[in-house]
Symmetry: none
């Protein structure tokens, strides 16, 4: 038996059914390119009849120089009581010009009887005619058996008969779909075995995650002999999403020793770019990363408890199921009051600052003091890096505040949402210049709220001196009350996530600020974000000696 | 064989290891109460030695009147070469005063040899001594076998020997932990069988989701005979999280016909409150909901494809694996995102308002509109009651805003915590008096931050007219960003919890406000809190007719 499992990606079609997911044609082409580079076998590009965007995609994808992947167009079997050659969907599939096409047909008698309201013979003819027509047009035909598992549960004979109709008409593979996502792994395994016995072509698997079992069902199907896995990157898709090809590929390669994607290198089974691919798709789809996503999430190998950190430092496998490097991810040691010195050593080492005993003691004391005051550095690595630099004496600020003012003024109200007060912030900064002088900048801006106004004024003041800040955007803003029993006088902790698109590698970082005043807490987190951005774009990375000098601002 | 599966929740302990997760003591008590009401069997409240907050929790949890759940304190087996009775961790476990304790010990020879660096006999003695000591102190003892599956893979004899040490010393159950989350379901099933044959007490299962298989592994273990499932609400926890008890409970009850939580009612297997519970925990932990979360996510039964919507309208089960009502969730093509009409009926009944069809429609439409704007009423019952009153025409405001102003002014700073800006709020209110006149009150106050200053000014203006407000305190204040991809211009939702100590029964209530401006959102939530307080202390409860009159203010 071959250990190769084909990966069939439908991020661009089924994934785009997810709530909040939309891809431009350019997005789709970029993702196609990446999937090909990673070694995916099939890329389902869209449903050519459904919208003009998909039709344009199929035009333009021909110009890509794909090395490995086969692009597929997706559509339905012919309509009832229509000849295949007269069916607009099938015609659009042919016109898409892809070497392979995927057609989906009905397997569950409930759908045939209650939704389609056709007789079973016509359903079988719709499948057979469509596959045969596409085959005769020179296409490789992949047949998706919608609701196979529900259909097999309800009426196994009929369900298997629909598969035979597709296989006998020339489908190269029949893909068994758990369309509603309700099946359990042992049933999936049994039904896959039954399908394999019933037809002469191989079978594939297509799962949804409604029962939180899409990965398990996918693996069970492969272990039962399915040779193709359909799914989406990061599991995006309708309702609870499709099977996540990231988790499927990593498990198949690293846990079950199947061959997926590009040929294995350095024992990593072709999955060493999964983290990069996952983040690329999130970014392209403009979706928030899932921090705890298996294998590729930023928390997937993050260690918080002091005991765990201690053990991981002795022996990584003690609290890690795989080496994170195998999927292109990395270990992170979270800084926390509870977790002790091991965390600090790890972070300082990453910063290439000599973690001598004096620095260790200073950083540790400062972390304890700040965490006591309500700071949390575990999800604010940029603030932590600045803190370590400050303790090591290598931090140099790029601007100093003279003062800020924020004024919020409401009109009359009727206590409904939608009536927003007027908010204005003014700021006066002193910016150290290379010649030792100071530039004073005093600006005012409006905003949707106090933080937004302050951010706007701060940028207005800094941009002429540091134009590279135009590439920095705030991507998330979180507020949490720390000692809530004091009601509105409680301290608040603000966490800000920022994204820098250039120069250099795009990057994301998080910063933190704490104060009794939400505006001041936001100010502190904003400052850290901007200082981090400015240090990041200083080339080359300042050493301890160099950075004592004021930075060289860009010309205004 | 009994079909009952015990659910053991460790949201408050293992869940709090998740990145960005912190619970106040009050949060922990609220969650404990909810878990008990839902019928969870065990609630692991914390690690009493690890921090003073957990110690305080174990003090205060004794005052809760729990109906069903057993609270557990969590800790480690004794240290090496220490007598159990001299061990501080075990002593803290006893002192926590819970009827049951959970101790975790080492199962994997790698940890014993490489991390602990002790001999195997000492490891077995640490387990046996600790269990026996706690048992002798009158505790029910749950033994967590850390890394059982890795240990069983590496050295099955030794792994099983550690289980026997716990069972023979008196553990009532031995829980098999997939600590690193790396195991696959078929292996989990085999290892659970082996454990059951090796010891005389029952076994439980504790999974992590590093391979995206926590739910599948949990189900496999129960099918192999485990009688207890450990996990967290929404699967929060370190790295990729723990097994999600929501998905586990729903699958066990609805797919595998096990008995979980409270006795089944209306065929729903005790899981009909899972959606509410899931959202309550997200809100309390101030974490973003996962829209596509299986069973309980807001997209879990949302239909986007036109074909699917058509089919679902003909026959819901055509694209739904379960009836969403079974887990308290809703199909999204229905009129409202709120968990159902029953909420409206309940509120109206409490308010002695006739819940006729017209009112139902008005309230539902308003809820849909406000939820679309970012409101959430699930944890803001007081705001919801006010909304029902407004829709019924029985709401009468006790004060009207002319305007407010908030001014925040910082001095110079050195970017350290502790330097707070000066914040001042002024407010002008018009208060309707019994004789039909208006009293205008214009006050100014300082505060620790804009919300605190506004609250202070509001109270200063209202107290002379409504002295009963002196008994009302704000006990919690939460802010969350609703559409975070827009950075600081995102909308924020403020939730306020208030406590009224008199007159009448002491009570707690929650209110909500949404705006792009955090000050305005806070204003809306503050107003609702005060209106609710004033309506509450009006005796007798105003009826629809009475409340059309302005309230009778107390003498100033």
């Amino acid at each position: 038996m071959s250990r190769r499992v084909q990966l069939y990606d439908t991020t661009l079609r089924d994934g785009s059914q997810g709530e909040g997911v939309t891809f431009s044609v350019q997005d789709k082409l970029l993702i196609t390119q990446r999937l090909d580079e990673a070694g995916f076998d099939f890329i389902e590009g869209g449903f050519p009849l459904s919208n003009p965007k998909d039709a344009e995609y199929f035009q333009r994808v021909r110009d890509l120089d794909l090395k490995h992947a086969t692009v597929c167009a997706f559509g339905l079997t012919r309509r009832k009581n229509t000849a295949a050659e007269d069916d607009v969907t099938l015609k659009a599939l042919v016109d898409a010009g892809t070497p392979a096409v995927t057609v989906v047909g009905k397997t569950w008698d409930l759908h045939v009887n209650e939704i389609m309201r056709i007789d079973r013979a016509e359903n079988l003819a719709m499948i057979a005619d469509s596959v045969a027509f596409l085959k005769a047009e020179g296409k490789r035909v992949i047949y998706d058996a919608e609701h196979f598992f529900d259909g097999y549960r309800a009426n196994p004979d009929f369900a298997l008969e629909t598969l035979r109709a597709a296989a006998d008409a020339g489908a190269e593979i029949v893909v068994l779909c758990d369309t509603n996502g309700g099946s359990l792994p042992d049933f999936v395994a049994r039904a896959v075995h039954a399908a394999r016995e019933a037809i002469r072509c191989p079978v594939g698997i297509h799962c949804h995650n409604d029962s939180d079992l899409a990965t398990a069902n996918t693996l069970a199907a492969v272990q039962a002999g399915a040779i193709q896995v359909q799914g989406t990157i990061n599991g995006i898709g309708e309702r609870c999403g499709n099977a996540d090809l990231i988790a499927a590929a990593a498990n198949l390669a690293l846990k079950l020793d199947f061959d997926v994607l590009l040929p294995a290198q350095d024992g990593a089974g072709g999955v060493q770019h999964l983290t990069e691919l996952s983040r690329f798709v999130y970014e392209t789809a403009n979706l928030a990363l899932r921090r705890g996503q298996p294998f590729v999430g930023s928390s997937a190998f993050a260690h918080k408890g002091g005991m765990h950190v201690h053990a991981v430092n002795r022996l990584a496998s003690s609290y890690e199921h795989i080496d994170p490097a195998k999927v292109g991810n990395e270990r992170r040691i979270l800084v926390s009051e509870l977790s002790g010195r091991s965390n600090i050593v790890a972070a300082a080492t990453k910063l290439k600052i000599d973690a001598d005993d004096a620095l260790m003691r200073t950083v540790l004391a400062k972390v304890v003091e700040l965490e006591h005051a309500g700071y949390q550095f575990e999800a604010a690595e940029a603030s932590f890096e600045l803190l370590v630099k400050k303790c090591a004496g290598t931090f140099q600020s790029h601007f100093n505040r003279d003062h800020y003012r924020v004024n919020i003024e409401s009109g009359q109200e009727t206590r409904v949402a939608g009536e927003e007060p007027v908010t204005e912030a003014s700021i006066k900064l002193r910016i150290p210049m290379p010649d030792g002088s100071e530039e004073v900048r005093h600006e005012v801006a409006e905003g949707d709220g106090p933080i937004n106004a302050l951010d706007a004024a701060l940028r207005k003041a800094l941009l002429p001196v540091y134009p590279q800040l135009a590439e920095v955007t705030l991507t998330d803003y979180k507020v949490r009350v720390i000692n809530p029993t004091e009601g509105t006088a409680a301290k608040v902790r603000v966490m800000i996530e920022s994204h820098g698109s250039g120069p250099g590698e795009p990057a994301d970082w998080s910063t933190v600020g704490v104060s009794e005043n939400v505006v001041e807490a936001s100010w502190l987190a904003l400052c850290d974000s901007i200082e981090y951005a400015l240090a990041r774009t200083a080339a080359p990375e300042a050493t301890a000696e160099e950075s004592v000098q004021p930075p060289v601002p860009s010309p205004s």
